[in-house]
Symmetry: C2
Subunit: 309 residues, 2 copies
């Protein structure tokens, strides 16, 4: 693969991880063009003429912004996705791999949902805009295959973490926020405060693993149906916090504030299909991934995203 | 109301009906701009600066095209709607009324669904693209109200018919196709062939009534939730065919070809909310509406849409 690989969202959490595997691909960021404007997207495709596209560009935010700006999260992501898919189809892209999100799945399913359940029920109201844009993306991929035979597909990763994350404590993702809070607690000799009881269970995946899987999917997965990827069945926030304090060598008190919300008891997806299709894929052990992430965070603290120094 | 009323889709079935009520509004058609391109939509809003918008523009087709071009129906309608809504919000439009479709509702519900059921289940596969674009439109309207307080809303009319319809026999809507087939049977002294047994039940609404209701909704309905409008509980294709033959004075044989598909046994929506909110609205009697439509069709036969003379 050479310069005919286009990566949108080249400066994000996963885009940066992909650079380690595909250093020669063309990485496009919002500085290169406004993806909500179809003319600008067309200009990029005309210039690059990609054979392969990793479509990672998205307007992403934390739970707070997602809930407050549902309409904007919906409109912007729908525009970005529709424009990129339309141009990928028009310019004859041979393979496109993009990302869905656990946010696309329904609120509080009785059992961890599988790939068949993307459109069942409604997404959580606080993610309704972002989650619905991801659902639409899934639908578009399926219909583009049906009408034009486009070999486009998506993966649905568990909650991603790694270097280049958004570290905003109030509006970042849970892993980045926990690392950041632990860092500040250690630096300031204060207790490490956790929202909720710590009992909530989540699935995480290291951004470098996502990058490897995107590459595997590019080569070996030709179904339009999304592929759920998660290295684990789930981990409680309490177990995660213990691991973070070990990795960060934090020895102060950890306080669980049960007056604060902790979200759904469990937010899990069924990863059986991935395990069947890629039985030999080796995920990075969580602790190793955490170590790499924490090291990056500490080294890049002064200019990482979401840090108000 | 004056020139500050913008109507998109000004040359369609309902756009033309609206001209009888609002002759001074600004009617925009695809000749005035490509609505899939946000820059062109912005240019129109900049020029017109509308206070009120009737957003009727859509890529519409018959069942055949809908099924064959699901991806295109989805992409184009999503682009049109997202661009128009974004600009209406950005330019501070005070009220926007648009159209959903029965296609947005799920396939084969057990009972006629109400407004609460727009997002329950999946639309019929043959309309998945078009129906999903309408669902997204509904979601966008709700979230724009939530985030920005936009007073945007929609109605969901039963199957619309009237002058300026698409009369294509193979890919038009059922009412227009039946009128056209009856016209040809009479002219050519041939039997009037109907697909299926005639038992299928449908709801219809006259385009002039839709125009009146759009105007009523503009003035008197300020909820973002869609409003289902239908003058009737349903009519069988057989009853409809009898009425058409009367109106068109067709005396030849009518043949029901039961080897041909007739679609779902019933495709009905629950119009209770409309009846409660607008108890005094007078719908045009079906036979009168048919007479007006047939007269227009006969007078405009040579240059009506979907006619290959």
């Amino acid at each position: 693969m050479s310069s005919s690989v286009l990566v949108t969202g080249g400066n994000g959490l996963i885009g940066n991880a992909l650079k380690k595997i595909l250093p020669d691909a063309i990485y496009i960021t919002r500085k290169d063009g406004d993806f909500t404007d179809i003319c600008q997207v067309k200009k990029i495709f005309k210039k690059v003429r990609p054979v392969t596209v990793f479509h990672l560009a998205a307007k992403v935010a934390g739970v707070k912004t997602n809930a407050e700006k549902n309409a904007e999260m919906l409109a912007v992501n729908v525009q970005i996705n529709t424009n990129v898919l339309s141009m990928a189809r028009e310019f004859g892209v041979q393979k496109l791999v993009t990302l869905l999100s656990t946010c696309a799945f329904r609120e509080r399913p009785e059992n961890p949902p599988s790939e068949k359940d993307v459109h069942v029920g409604m997404p959580y109201a606080g993610n309704l805009g972002y989650g619905s844009a991801k659902r639409l993306l899934d639908l578009q991929i399926g219909l583009l295959k049906q009408q034009y035979g486009c070999n486009f597909t998506s993966i649905t990763p568990a909650t991603v973490f790694g270097p280049f994350d958004n570290w905003d404590i109030n509006d970042g993702h849970v892993m980045a926020a926990l690392i950041h809070k632990c860092y500040l607690a250690k630096r300031n000799n204060e207790p490490f405060h956790i929202w909720g009881s710590g009992a909530a269970v989540r699935q995480f995946i290291f951004s470098y693993d996502v990058a490897h899987i995107l590459f595997e999917v590019l080569k070996n997965y030709n179904d339009s149906e999304t592929l759920i990827v998660s290295p684990m069945e789930g981990i409680s926030i309490r177990e995660l916090v213990e691991m973070i304090t070990q990795v960060m060598d934090f020895k102060g008190p950890v306080i669980y504030d049960q007056t604060k919300p902790e979200g759904a008891a469990a937010r899990l997806l069924n990863n059986a299909k991935f395990k069947t299709l890629f039985p030999n894929f080796k995920f990075t052990p969580l602790k190793d991934a955490l170590q790499t992430t924490v090291q990056w965070f500490v080294e890049n603290y002064s200019n990482a995203r979401g840090i108000i120094a």
